[in-house]
Symmetry: C2
Subunit: 294 residues, 2 copies
């Protein structure tokens, strides 16, 4: 069964839209974007669109790629201070010269719908948070909607990055499931994946997980995001004038070799249209929730 | 090879003793003890002894078992406020009625050598802490002293409790090792342990890990602490007068069936005399370090 992430996201959207209508104080999302990664623009666009559709203003604060970490943190502190900004998120990745966690920590927990600051991560790790980071919330939402029992199952988490593996692992540490965290350097990842009831992958390697690595009936959640640029034929390339060059055709791909894995999985999320739209929806769910309690 | 925890602890003790001599401001450890668990007394005694031997005062603050969480937190805040208390630890377990994390969060990171507050756990989870929680520090110390390469190995963590499984998992999330977290409810723990290069167990079930669950050459770190009371023969029991009753003979046991596992392990920690003394030493190492930087 292919998990329809867009459909789940639409359901969340409808209920959030109603909820926002009832709120006296409207939530507002500030997005901090350091201009270093063009793929980020697409993700920001998705957030702007989602916000618009549920009546939430999304404002993007752009900074030049060469901004210093100290200056960026100061700017974010100003953005956080404004009462109307009920949530502030930092669009990742940041330029390699910047200490990412130092920047993420400038958002206090109650204005942190992405839940990436030390305070939010700590609350998650000790198990005292009510909300989950969007990616973990999205996984939990899929489990709930598709009635997937994960509590006594074995889950393989591929990768331990800040945006997928780590938040999912921290969430599961406070649940009843057994899980493994597999790194990209781990030699025989298939030894783990073959036994897993559920695989959650956030490595960023296209076709990293193939059908022969998966057991029959497994649940596959593909959180990988790589941007693949389609090869441009030499003919069409040669025909381009430098003035009218087309932007390269790029598409978002996950970690899973969909066709071969789909033959074995009981449930699978596609890319795009799988975990991505739900994660955006969960970000806004966190934003709306925080707005109610602050 | 049996890992000699007492010897490693003695080495750390000697170097800390010298370090304390050189400090202008002496560290002082406050131990908060709610009188609900007799086994705690033994652990507190070990800390008092270690402190005495390196020239650090350890003061125990005792509270009655029926103290409320709010009152206890207030009292701890007072203890934390005193400048001379450079470190404050809460002896666990607390009575079941008390929200443990609420109490642990009353210790700020810079006075938290046990590193159990939200702030300390968060810093560990995001990978920005310099120091490690004592149990993870003790495991790291063993790896270093015995030149055990763990970075590209597979580690099975048994249990996800606050004192062992969770801090070890949080540490490893920021290292390069692949690891699994196995719960006491997991059906076939041997499927994981048999493949593990390193097993770190903190379940609290005597003889939980037996020789047939372990692969040849594995490294076994036993962090389990159960108190086993030796059976008292009916004769000696009958002979007891209620006035001169002997205390029951109790001993500390780990999770590992030492004899059968020792036949296969390349390295193994005994209980007692394994991870325990090193963990106490690492607590004081954190205390001394914090004292230098505050």
């Amino acid at each position: 069964m292919i998990i329809d992430g867009r459909k789940i996201a639409e359901e969340i959207k409808s209920s959030l839209k109603e909820e926002v209508l009832r709120l006296n104080k409207k939530p507002k999302l500030a997005v901090v974007y350091v201009e270093n990664n063009l793929a980020s623009l697409k993700f920001i666009e998705q957030k702007e669109k989602f916000g618009r559709e549920i009546g939430i203003e999304v404002k993007v604060f752009k900074f030049a790629e060469n901004i210093s970490a100290v200056r960026l943190r100061k700017q974010i502190t100003e953005i956080v201070r404004l009462k109307k900004n009920t949530g502030v998120i930092i669009q990742l990745p940041l330029p390699a010269t910047i200490n990412v966690q130092y920047i993420l920590n400038s958002v206090p927990a109650k204005k942190d719908p992405d839940m990436l600051s030390l305070e939010s991560v700590g609350g998650l790790a000790v198990g005292q948070n009510i909300t989950l980071p969007p990616i973990a919330g999205a996984v939990a939402e899929i489990f709930e909607k598709y009635k997937i029992d994960y509590k006594n199952k074995y889950i393989a988490i591929m990768g331990a990055g800040n945006l997928v593996g780590k938040p999912v692992a921290l969430w599961l540490l406070n649940q009843k499931a057994a899980f493994s965290v597999i790194r990209s350097a781990t030699k025989n990842p298939e030894e783990f994946t073959k036994k897993a009831d559920i695989i959650i992958s956030g490595v960023g390697k296209p076709k990293f997980i193939t059908g022969n690595m998966v057991k029959n009936g497994a649940v596959i959640i593909d959180c990988g995001t790589s941007v693949e640029t389609a090869p441009v034929s030499s003919l069409s390339y040669a025909a381009d004038s430098s003035e009218h060059k087309q932007p390269p055709i790029s598409k978002l791909v996950g970690d899973v070799d969909f066709d071969s894995v789909n033959l074995k999985a009981s449930h699978i999320t596609p890319v795009p249209g799988g975990i991505g739209p739900i994660t955006v929806a969960m970000l806004f769910k966190n934003l709306v929730r925080n707005c109610g309690i602050v």
